[in-house]
Symmetry: C2
């Protein structure tokens, strides 16, 4: 097996008109691109979408790594949305598109004259999809949102952090990519339905609302206890299980920990663990004989397990404990993941070959007939303007050159 | 607008044969159910899938809240997979299904004789989807995984927690639901493609691999710095921005914080914030005049902002700061979210009416033509056995009763 599989080609022939920016919208359209859709970013001729310059990239002044990672496998065409002719071009494209995606500030797309009613009238087959920070009808409907605002208001921070500490933001960008993935599900559902109905649908998702999809175990915890679910360090929200959590490994760096979990549904986990760490004698110890007893002696258990893990590095600890049939996982950071050869071999981490330089990055992790989608470069600004207007609208190179001279594209 | 919209019906007529359990698989098939597919859980007649008894539920001994929340809108049919006749029934169903999903331990489905080759030969149109903890070709291919193991090994914990503290597990169950959502995208892509090809595909996703999709901003940070991305409390991984983070509010409870973010791309945010908190005089202060200067005076800025936020509750702080055009969000917990009337009004939080009792829970947050999918009850064990075998296989009630007597269903 290697990572150079064929593209999934699931969405061959599907055209996505992509007016989105930053991450929530682009992560959604990138998933569609990885499935094989032709995704065309419509960008301002003067600099493109703001994500192009968020942070640094492989070359000073060139596209940022941030842009590269969220816009793989797409095309870029420039259009000045402030010009009447530019707006007309977008409408012409919308007539020929299957999907439209935008995540401008609340009300902006409607003020441009590209709202649902307008585009639906032009092309009833169009699936029209929008991302906003807060939902229609929310008291914060008109507020701005970024990933961290969505996470604060969506409940992810309250359940993340040490038990007695402040809320922490989960490192994953659930506010952005977490939202984008759910919208992709909606778009694909609507595309499937269109085969039967011939009609597109209007889809909306709010970044705040999207967080709830990923925190439902906290709602389960709330239903059980009648109290708001709280954060619990590296342990599960419910707590009361031992051993379960992260244990320190050598050489003692900030990420030198191994997660060990003994499932309450499987009492063998605890006995297997004791054998691995050479403490078989404790199998019969009444302090640790049942799940409840272990919960009451958590501090002693954590000491026993730590005494063993401190003598191993996290990889060895994972190999030995996991190999014995006890769920175990080293706490891996981006350096560990980029350095793990099997990720590259399996195509989960690939190298984007971009005119400005390389970027080693994860691809979409679903494997289709054995291989994940191949990563292709994020587009340079306007790289496909001529190609796209030619293919979608039948315009000649001379037509497009004229628009370019006028600053429309 | 209210929450009682029509079902999206995107997947009308799509039949999902669901052999999955716990959360990663069930969250995936639940998304398909919310889009309108007929999802039939195949469960052990003796107790059903193990998620049914994970924790407590509305009634002692009845289905757990955990099961209810991840199995809304599905059907349940019982089949003993250890009996030859039971396996035959599942194969007959696979001939009539559009999608097959399983997340048993590595190798288990193949040992049952229900592997990809077998079912693909019986029904070339079947989309065959599998979730495992680690990917084929990983050194940990045969290891067990749960949500927390996938998060440890997938890089989410290393980037979550206080800067100088231990790694924390993000509260959202990215290892499970995060994986399930990506698999749903793959399944929907394969279903779309089948219209053109008439053929199903083999899809696989590993819970470890899936985490990388949500942590790509950490890979961006690694590409910028050349070092592993580190956790940073409630702030962004890159840091260097002020004000940006959570600020304490009254009355000082564990979740009484408001997130305030001033974007480096928009210098107006800082000036607007100073006006809201009555510190206009500082607009001209050279210590805070540029992004870089503010980054150097982060401690002073955090003090200035906190002095104001401590005098307000988090809702008031969000309303005032957000209303002034500065991105702001209260840190909301499950209690706040369940108590916010607009969630119910908009249909984002609904009440599952279940024979054993109620559960207030989030529904799938994408709105289709204005409304999210309505929540229907999770099935009782075997509730639909007679209906499903009748409709899918044309069996009579007497046939099914005989199988029941024999313990096959």
């Amino acid at each position: 097996m290697d990572g150079s599989g064929a593209a999934p080609n699931c969405l061959d022939g599907v055209r996505v008109l992509d007016l989105s920016q930053f991450e929530a919208g682009p992560s959604c359209t990138e998933a569609l691109a990885w499935l094989g859709a032709e995704v065309v970013k419509i960008e301002n001729p003067k600099g493109g979408e703001p994500g192009r310059v968020l942070g640094t990239g492989p070359r000073p002044g060139a596209d940022a790594y941030y842009f590269m990672i969220y816009n793989a496998n797409k095309k870029s065409a420039t259009v000045d949305l402030k010009s009447e002719r530019g707006l007309q071009l977008v409408k012409e494209m919308a007539k020929r598109a299957d999907v439209f995606v935008e995540n401008f500030a609340p009300g902006a797309i409607e003020r441009l004259g590209l709202g649902w009613e307008v585009l639906h009238a032009l092309n009833p087959r169009l699936v029209y999809a929008q991302v906003k920070g807060f939902g229609e009808g929310s008291p914060y409907e008109n507020n701005l949102a970024f990933d961290m605002i969505a996470q604060a208001c969506g409940g992810t921070m309250a359940i993340t952090g040490e038990r007695d500490g402040r809320p922490c933001k989960p490192g994953p960008t659930l506010g952005d990519t977490g939202t984008g993935m759910l919208l992709a599900i909606g778009i694909l559902g609507a595309l499937y339905q269109r085969h039967a109905t011939g009609k597109g649908r209007r889809l909306q998702i709010a970044m705040q609302d999207a967080q709830l999809q990923y925190t439902r175990s906290a709602f389960v915890q709330h239903a059980r206890s009648g109290e708001p679910a709280m954060r619990n360090g590296a342990k599960s929200l419910a707590g009361g299980m031992a051993p379960a959590g992260i244990y320190p490994c050598k050489p003692g760096g900030p990420n030198d920990y191994v997660y060990v979990f003994t499932s309450p549904a499987n009492p063998e986990h605890w006995q297997r663990l004791l054998r691995v760490i050479g403490r078989e004698a404790l199998i019969a110890d009444p302090r640790f004989a049942t799940r409840e007893a272990r919960g009451q002696h958590e501090a002693e258990i954590d000491q026993i397990v730590s005494d063993w893990t401190r003598g191993r590095d996290k990889h060895e600890a994972m190999r030995l404990i996991g190999g014995a049939g006890v769920p175990a996982g080293a706490v891996l950071d981006t350096g560990d993941l980029l350095g793990e050869p099997s990720f590259e071999k399996r195509g989960i981490i690939q190298t984007m070959q971009h005119p400005n330089g390389e970027l080693r990055m994860p691809t979409f992790p679903v494997r289709f007939d054995g291989a994940p989608p191949p990563v292709k470069p994020a587009p340079l600004l306007g790289e496909h303007t001529t190609e796209v207007f030619g293919e979608w609208l039948g315009m000649s190179a001379a037509d497009i050159e004229e628009l370019r001279t006028e600053g429309v594209v």
